[in-house]
């Protein structure tokens, strides 16, 4: 991929391909847990298509965004601890 864009995940800048979903970008960066469950277990994406809500993260301050439906944007800030 010739061009990459920068997103910030939990305060750490990441270079990612511009045509990935946020879920794919997180996976490729080694971030496999997108949230903690009610019982504090690590959870990652399951359905990949917006149904299961396991990949929900905070994007630019907005909680409960499904990473699998979210295209990456230059400058996007992501929090997986929300």
């Amino acid at each position: 991929m010739a061009d990459t864009i920068e997103i910030v995940v939990n305060g750490v800048p990441l270079r990612v391909a511009p045509d990935e979903s946020l879920a794919a970008a997180l996976f490729n960066a080694g971030v496999r847990s997108t949230r903690r469950s009610a019982g504090a277990e690590a959870r990652g994406p399951l359905c990949g298509m917006g149904t299961c809500f396991e990949c929900r993260v905070t994007v630019d301050g907005i909680a409960q965004r499904r990473a699998c439906l979210e295209p990456v944007r230059d400058g996007m800030t992501v929090d997986t601890n929300g």
């Binding site: 045509d19 879920a23 794919a24 490729n28 399951l46 359905c47 990949g48 299961c52 907005i62």
Partner: protein, 426 residues
């Protein structure tokens, strides 16, 4: 195709879902001169089967349909999750956290299907996905080069996903189909009658020649050991373990019928009842594709076309595509019927409802879906039972509870726009 902004739109035909059925419906209605609005929660049209990052990745027929949509006058609303619809001919969606209302004369529901999961020990671990789930993530850019992958579950989806993963550089450890070989081979032999499907099957075989596609085997559990996963497989007699980086397990597809059930369309055995013109039991509301029964993209295109024409007021021409699609679904059900042993997959302490972390033992065998929600909160989280309800239906015979608005989680502003809760003073 035009993109729209604003909080309220008027349409002759509103189409929910931009997979093959929804695209065919929208294009045919628009080509008849109807004002058409097409909504989908994804950023690009195509649904799951035609999910793509660039059109070049798609088979020619899919690319042609997307091109036809682009050249049409359809108003395309990406990133729009429909949360409510009323028989008074409005629907409410949430887009970028804000409400969007569409007033329509006819509504086409083309919401597709979701994957069926059966809980097993370890299914909640990161790096354990659905089969369709890992396919969707692969299409969205996940890099699987050099990754070991165990694929398990059931249904014709296992093959194309294994092939796509292999093409992308993954090492397929095993493709474990739970159905016995004789049923799967009889189903495959039946594909000779359908040249289009046979062509697809041939491509898939070539793609994962080196991988082991094996019938009568299922994933019993997954355990995490450092960065690797240990996958326990069984054929009911032997039990063995394979190391893997990623695991994908899914047991076929479940029609997505929350929206038609909310509106009050007649739904029987989990499928929306439609006539030869794809009309539901509610006037002005049509349904096409997987919500009427799992039959694949060709049937979805044919049904979408009929629904779009009928919704635009055109006379339906000739017999609808229902018969062939239903026959295919029956063959599919016979070939990939879930074996009895899968009822024993979850342990008592296996999480069934992932949203609320409810374990199987917390749910009494005789409880209804309503009781289960009241006593344990299972089914009340953000996915609203889309994952656990089909699982509990399979494991416990639990019938689904009534659907309530919103059918997806929504902001307070969006709920207010639905008109179902009193608006505040401010």
């Amino acid at each position: 195709m035009v993109e729209a902004s604003g909080a309220a739109l008027h349409a002759d035909v509103a189409v929910v879902g931009a997979g093959p059925a929804g695209i065919a419906a929208a294009v045919h209605a628009a080509e008849r001169g109807a004002r058409v609005v097409l909504l989908d929660s994804a950023p690009r049209p195509g649904g799951q089967i035609w999910r793509h990052r660039s059109p070049g990745e798609l088979p020619p027929e899919a690319a042609a349909w997307l091109d036809r949509l682009r050249r049409s006058d359809v108003t395309w609303l990406p990133g729009s999750t429909v949360v409510d619809a009323l028989a008074d001919r409005t629907l409410t969606a949430e887009r970028d956290g804000r409400p969007l209302t569409v007033h329509w004369n006819a509504l086409v529901i083309a919401t597709g299907a979701t994957e069926r999961f059966i809980p097993f020990p370890g299914w909640t671990l990161p790096n354990v996905f659905g089969v369709g789930g890992l396919q969707a993530l692969l299409k969205a850019g996940v890099d699987v080069r050099g990754k070991r992958v165990v694929i398990g579950g059931s249904g014709p989806l296992l093959l194309p996903v294994a092939a796509a993963l292999a093409r992308a550089g993954a090492r397929i450890v095993i493709v474990a189909e739970q159905a016995p070989a004789h049923r799967v081979y009889r189903f495959a032999a039946g594909l000779w009658r359908d040249p289009g499907r046979l062509l697809q099957a041939g491509r898939y075989r070539a793609g994962f020649m080196r991988a082991a596609y094996r019938c009568g085997i299922w994933v019993a559990r997954v355990d995490s050991a450092g960065s690797a996963l240990w996958v326990t497989l069984t054929d009911g007699r032997r039990v063995w373990t394979e190391p893997s980086d990623l695991v994908a397990v899914g047991y076929g597809l479940v029609p997505s019928v929350a929206l038609p059930r909310l509106i009050g369309c007649n739904v029987i055995d989990g499928r929306v009842l439609v006539d030869q013109s794809q009309r539901t039991s509610v006037p002005g509301i049509y349904c096409a594709g997987e919500p009427t029964g799992i039959a694949g993209a060709d049937a979805a295109l044919a049904e979408g076309r009929v629904a779009g024409l009928a919704a635009a007021g055109a006379e339906p021409d000739g017999r609808g595509p229902r018969g062939a699609a239903r026959r295919f679904e029956r063959r599919l059900d016979r070939a990939f019927r879930l074996r009895q042993e899968l009822h024993d997959l979850p342990d008592p302490d296996t999480i069934v409802c992932r949203c609320e972390d409810v374990r199987l033992a917390q749910i009494d065998a005789g409880w209804s879906a309503r009781q289960t929600k009241l006593y344990t909160r299972a089914g009340m989280g953000p996915c609203q039972g889309r994952v656990c309800q089909p699982a509990l239906e399979y494991l416990r015979g639990m019938a689904p509870d009534a659907v309530r608005t919103p059918v997806f989680p929504a902001s307070v502003a969006t709920l207010a726009a639905c008109g179902r809760i009193p608006q505040g003073d401010s």
